[in-house]
């Protein structure tokens, strides 16, 4: 019983890592722009596909390369290319609207539409057949007592933690992080202080999208079947996780992702798997009803 609980907690950590990585991207963009970037889940999907194409390119054109070498080439390339997709979206869809001073909700709708374009464009261009991701590293299973863990799962958890530490460092300790926090505090005074607001926003999108690309790569290594709609559901769930953690706060997104991962894995462990969404979302809803600003969110007081 105890062993299976530990095993489930470990699986929850691994499953929550994906949610955390995606939720971090949501929360970064939200923290700076107060924009819910609903296309983020689909950027995750695009990241998985980019990883697939990059990895198969290297495997196909330079045969004989060892798997770990291909992987080390694939990781940075995927992150850069996915960041390119995110920045393109910001540049052609969100920035013109922001310049015009359109209502925030119209930007959210544009983001939703961009997500649909990415999903269905992928389906239309690549067809409905699912792609299976090549196996780059051999699986090694470590067993401690009754708890078994693979090297891949450990790598996923470690990279989620590393990404969190890196982002926390960037946002709280560096100058550009200070600029990001400043923009979220007051969007109108910041340009007057000589801070290039567009550069900071592009930097935010680069950070968020490259994390989504990394998540896509790790996800497709762990569950090597790709399909165009894989990003939609996981993206919505990660967003909910980010909000439960307290959106706009990096610690909140990180912990919210893990919380959702734990809850889902534990529900599946004790109930039929069709109850997963029902119970997980009910718990999150209860948390939000009792703590409306999320676990780490700060209640804003409204001035009259």
């Amino acid at each position: 019983m105890f062993d299976s609980l530990i095993q489930n907690l470990f699986n929850g950590l691994q499953w929550g890592s994906f949610y955390s990585l995606i939720a971090l991207g949501y929360t970064l963009v939200y923290g700076v722009l107060t924009l819910i970037n609903f296309a983020h889940g689909d950027i995750f999907m695009v990241g998985a596909y980019i990883a697939f194409f990059v990895a198969s390119f290297f495997l196909g054109h330079a045969t004989g390369l060892p798997g770990w070498f291909v992987l080390t080439l694939t990781i940075p390339l995927t992150m850069i290319l996915t960041a390119g997709v995110g920045v393109t979206l910001e540049r052609i869809a969100y920035r013109p609207l922001r310049r015009k001073g359109a209502d925030r909700l119209y930007v959210v709708i544009t983001a939703l539409m961009c997500g649909l374009i990415l999903e269905n464009g992928n389906l239309a261009l690549l067809g409905a057949s699912r792609k299976s991701f090549p196996e780059l590293v051999d699986k090694t299973v470590y067993t401690f007592g009754m708890v078994s863990m693979t090297n891949l799962k450990i790598a996923v958890i470690i990279s989620a933690i590393l990404v969190f530490v890196l982002l926390q460092f960037i946002v709280t300790k560096t100058k550009i992080g200070m600029a990001m926090r400043a923009i979220s505090y007051d969007k109108f005074a910041v340009p007057l202080m000589g801070i290039p607001i567009d550069t900071v926003i592009v930097f935010t999108f680069i950070l968020g999208s490259s994390m989504a690309g990394l998540a896509g790569l790790l996800y497709s290594l762990s569950y090597p079947i790709l399909d165009p709609y894989m990003g939609a559901l996981i993206g919505w769930k990660a967003f909910i996780a980010a909000v439960v953690g307290g959106i706009g706060d990096i610690r909140g997104a990180f912990l919210g992702g893990f919380l959702l991962g734990f809850v889902e894995i534990l529900v599946v462990a004790f109930f039929p798997s069709t109850f997963r969404d029902l119970i997980a979302f009910s718990i999150l809803l209860l948390i939000l009803v009792y703590k409306p600003t999320g676990l780490f969110g700060v209640a804003k007081t409204t001035k009259i």
Binding site: Y30, K100, L105, V289
Partner: protein, 358 residues
């Protein structure tokens, strides 16, 4: 004359559409497009109460549609049709025609009660946190339906065609078309009455400034409860009609994608504009159906110009790329939607002379 012009116009429209359908001038496809336009009008106008007039961002409208659809279909099948699970009908199938509006209203009432699930958290929460609650409510509703085996679970629920056939056996008329048109007119009338009432003024005040509204003795909680319940109740009505048109429903067709469609229609039409909602629902549905015919033309045109390889065929999936693309472009050029927050009579003040519609 001024008083009668709108009812007269609607009555003539109603008679023409049903007459043409009854005598077979409009084929089944055109009829179904008209019915979907009606349903989309109800959906977008009802979501506009919460998202437009009250200024919240509710993105789980399909959940209430699902509740209305399931409650009314299960009731109808339970009462008037022979079914594997529910057994023999309780009442004689001929009565289905007379009870149909009541059953639809029961579905709407159930959806309105479910609207409280979202309305009560909204007392404390606003903005993006409320958006999440609505999304979570959508997921909760669809996965609850998936887990109830008696109504088919993930396989879906069917048998509503028997009800439509039973109605047509009594009097040979296109009954679903009639109910959809009546339902649409009823919803628009109700929303119009509601928005111009004290309650409507109240939710507009909440949109402007909630604290100030509360100080001016607007009972904000009651206003919100009312707005959410009317909005979700009408969504339930639309869901009930939708279920009986298709004759088959499935929890996955009320997912977040359907909610996205409702959102798109509201923001395409303009927040807080009833005529905008109606226009955008018509435009959106016609666009959706029109592209079905345009895409084969695009395909043959591109092949004729040798722009794409012969093996590749432009499939209907492109429809769902083109529609979001059109909407994104529209947002760039007209970020406030088709009508903004104006009504048709604000743009063409002269037509005010011809009608009075309250």
């Amino acid at each position: 004359m001024k008083k009668l012009s709108v009812p007269l116009l609607l009555f003539i429209l109603f008679l023409t559409l049903t007459g043409l359908s009854h005598f077979g001038v409009l084929d089944r496809y055109v009829q179904s497009v008209i019915m979907f336009i009606g349903i989309n009008i109800i959906l977008s106008a009802s979501l506009n109460i919460v998202n437009g007039y009250m200024g919240e961002f509710a993105c789980g409208h399909a959940a209430f549609m699902a509740i209305g659809a399931y409650v009314s279909s299960v009731l109808n099948v339970f009462l008037f049709a022979r079914d594997k699970v529910f057994g023999a009908p309780l009442l004689s199938p001929e009565l289905a025609l007379y009870f149909f509006p009541l059953v639809l209203l029961a579905g709407a009432a159930a959806a309105a009660l479910a609207g409280m699930l979202v309305a009560i958290p909204s007392f404390k929460t606003r903005g993006d946190y409320l958006a999440i609650i609505t999304i979570a409510a959508n997921f909760i509703v669809t996965s609850t339906i998936i887990n109830i085996n008696a109504i088919g679970g993930a396989r879906g629920f069917m048998g509503m065609k028997k009800i439509t056939f039973a109605m047509e056996d009594v009097i040979e008329l296109p009954w679903m078309l009639i109910w959809v048109i009546l339902g649409t007119i009823f919803s628009i009338w109700l929303i119009r009455r509601y928005v111009s009432s004290t309650y409507g003024k109240g939710i507009i005040a909440i949109n402007q400034d909630e604290v100030a509204a509360e100080i001016m003795s607007v009972n904000t909680n009651r206003m919100k409860l009312m707005a959410f319940m009317i909005s979700s109740g009408l969504a339930g009505l639309a869901g009930g009609l939708f279920a009986h048109i298709l004759g088959y429903i499935n929890p996955n067709s009320f997912g977040i994608l359907k909610s996205t469609e409702c959102l798109v229609m509201v923001y395409l039409g303009g927040m807080g504009s009833l005529s905008g909602s109606v226009i955008s629902a018509i435009v959106f549905t016609l666009l959706l159906e029109g592209l079905r015919f345009v895409i084969p033309w695009i395909d043959s045109g591109l092949h004729w110009l040798h722009l794409i390889p012969d093996a590749y065929q432009v499939s209907q999936v492109w429809k769902w790329v083109l529609i979001p693309l059109i909407l994104v472009l529209l947002m760039q050029f007209r970020p406030e939607g088709i009508m903004g927050n104006k009504e048709l009579s604000d743009i063409f003040p002269k037509i005010k002379k011809w009608y009075r519609f309250r």
